[in-house]
Symmetry: C2
Subunit: 342 residues, 2 copies
């Protein structure tokens, strides 16, 4: 039996449904824009690029662009749509490459590009998506946008490399985990917020605050995603669960479980992570339930959400603020919805 | 016995040695610049990025940048060095990814990044190099440079994808081959020349002419490289030879051999290319010698060199012209030096 408690979602003017309702027309515009980009790809690879776009993805990074640059529903400029496409394409490119390395067959309930076209073509297709994202980023009056995006892209890759190098290593610390998350996830969240606010012409202090908001929300989101790998439901998440233990990736739920296990059990789990023993995901999930790991991890999510909210404390009256806070509600509600029933 | 004849290298004011002597100090500057870039990479991946830079590579694309922007030895600007670094980094990134896909262990007589760090890290490392190349390309006053580089990068990837998709396919035509070469090799040669001439402030017509020169030289170079895969010497080339037949890649030497073989022999070679029979590279090399394939392929190289020279015909007096023509001499001499002795 779990004794988990998480604070209920705080009620704010723009909660779940209303934030997404606001974004619906702009997401449709983004989809049209992305489809329109396909003609920029060589005819031979157009269908493959289109396959990567055609997802039922969550479009979180475009949402961050739109919300961080929010000045009203009629004020979503073509610049915001273009930069939303840039960050989404960078993200999609990283997914294409991630799925090769993870040897994943399915993502979002459809075959991965690696599975559909083979790993070799998928490496190159990811490259082409990256290149086109950065090409789109040059379609602004100055080099600032492209500079920010290429810098973030390199950081995302660095984060993924560090994670890869640490796989099956069992002396990963919380600081290591934090560093990986900061690079591989929080950076693109941060730059999405930065670009949205910047292109919408908000003042420097607010742009900086919104960027910090994005970073913390990104960390919170990644921790939530790592939680989902154990506590989610496969059908709903649309991908195979328990993969982090199987692939020897020391995420926060596993780090905390290691801290709380007896010395003997810790040795066994360490051997599973190192690939020296067959992994036992169901046993580990049960132990996470017993030892309050869910609560500890969701507290870590909460702490990052609190930091995100804190970043906007001095800017209550700017148009994006209540919407961005609404996103925090959404994430809190999602964490609450995966609360273990056992 | 082969009845091969190739025209001897045409003597021009700046031949082999003198062109490279001119470039030596600028290549040293490029090396210093590239090393200096390593601090832009996250500390965890700096050593890996450095490993990819540390090559005894030919630096052909930087040479094209320097020569196309040539206004005298004292006039190689920091802008030219930076853009030379950009195209070289894009090229190195494609090599890192190529070697994963080709499962190559050795390149330029040292272990490939894929072999040194594993394929997973190599995918991401290539991405990080791409991202940093494009970041460097944003360090110019306008977006033009980055736009040109990202566009070319996408084309290079598209070319590699088409080549990958056609592997083991035996109905590849000369037009298909031309298209692949144009995208995967000629495009980066072309853009190197374009960027060099553009940044050095040459007039539009000359920039365009030099770009066409670069494209044709790139095609010539790739055909030469494909010739080398059969007729080269492993120790000198620094990589395993005969790989195109083994991997089912229909390059020009194999296309021409297929055209010249008897119907029976053609069926056998087709089966080798399709992976249905064990490949017989030594037999095929012998047949290439007997059937004049070397001469036919080197004529194709010559035709592209002639087109490259033709592109500069109306611009004899601009400073880069004799140097670029000198590069043609170098390539002609290289083709002549692999002339089969058998």
């Amino acid at each position: 039996m779990s004794s988990v408690t998480v604070s209920p979602p705080v009620s704010r003017p723009h909660a779940f449904a209303s934030v997404f309702a606001l974004l619906t027309p702009h997401m449709a515009e983004l989809d049209r824009f992305l489809r329109g980009q396909m003609t920029s790809f060589e005819p031979e690879i157009r269908g493959m690029a289109d396959y990567c776009i055609d997802t039922t993805g969550k479009r979180i990074r475009p949402a961050l662009v739109f919300l961080s640059g929010w000045r009203g529903p009629g004020a979503v400029t073509p610049d915001l749509v273009r930069v939303a496409a840039v960050v989404e394409l960078v993200h999609l490119a990283t997914l294409v490459h991630d799925d090769i390395m993870d040897e994943a067959d399915v993502r979002r309930s459809r075959r991965t590009a690696a599975r559909e076209f083979g790993p070799t073509a998928a490496v190159l297709l990811g490259d082409a998506l990256f290149a086109h994202a950065l090409h789109l980023a040059t379609q602004f009056p100055t080099t600032e946008i492209c500079a920010a995006v290429s810098d973030s892209t390199r950081k995302v890759c660095a984060g993924e490399i560090v994670q890869t190098l640490r796989r099956r290593s069992t002396n990963v610390t919380r600081a290591d985990y934090q560093r990986i998350v900061d690079l591989k996830t929080a950076e693109l969240f941060r730059v999405s917020c930065f670009l949205g606010a910047r292109l919408a012409g908000f003042e420097g202090g607010y742009v900086e605050a919104v960027s910090r908001f994005g970073r913390h929300l990104g960390i919170a989101y990644q921790i939530y995603d790592d939680l989902l790998d154990f506590f989610g439901e496969e059908a709903r998440v649309g991908k195979t669960l328990g993969t982090d233990l199987v692939s020897g990736k020391l995420t926060l739920p596993l780090l905390i479980l290691l801290e709380r296990l007896s010395a003997d059990e810790r040795m066994t789990l360490t051997a599973e992570l190192a690939g020296e023993r067959p992994p036992q995901p169901l046993l580990r999930l049960g132990q996470m339930r017993e030892l309050g790991v869910f609560a500890a991890v969701s507290q870590a999510v909460e702490a990052e959400i609190a930091a995100a909210i804190g970043a906007l404390r001095d800017w209550p009256d700017d148009a994006p603020t209540p919407l961005l806070l609404g996103l925090c509600d959404v994430l809190q509600a999602q964490v609450a919805s995966v609360r273990p029933s056992g």
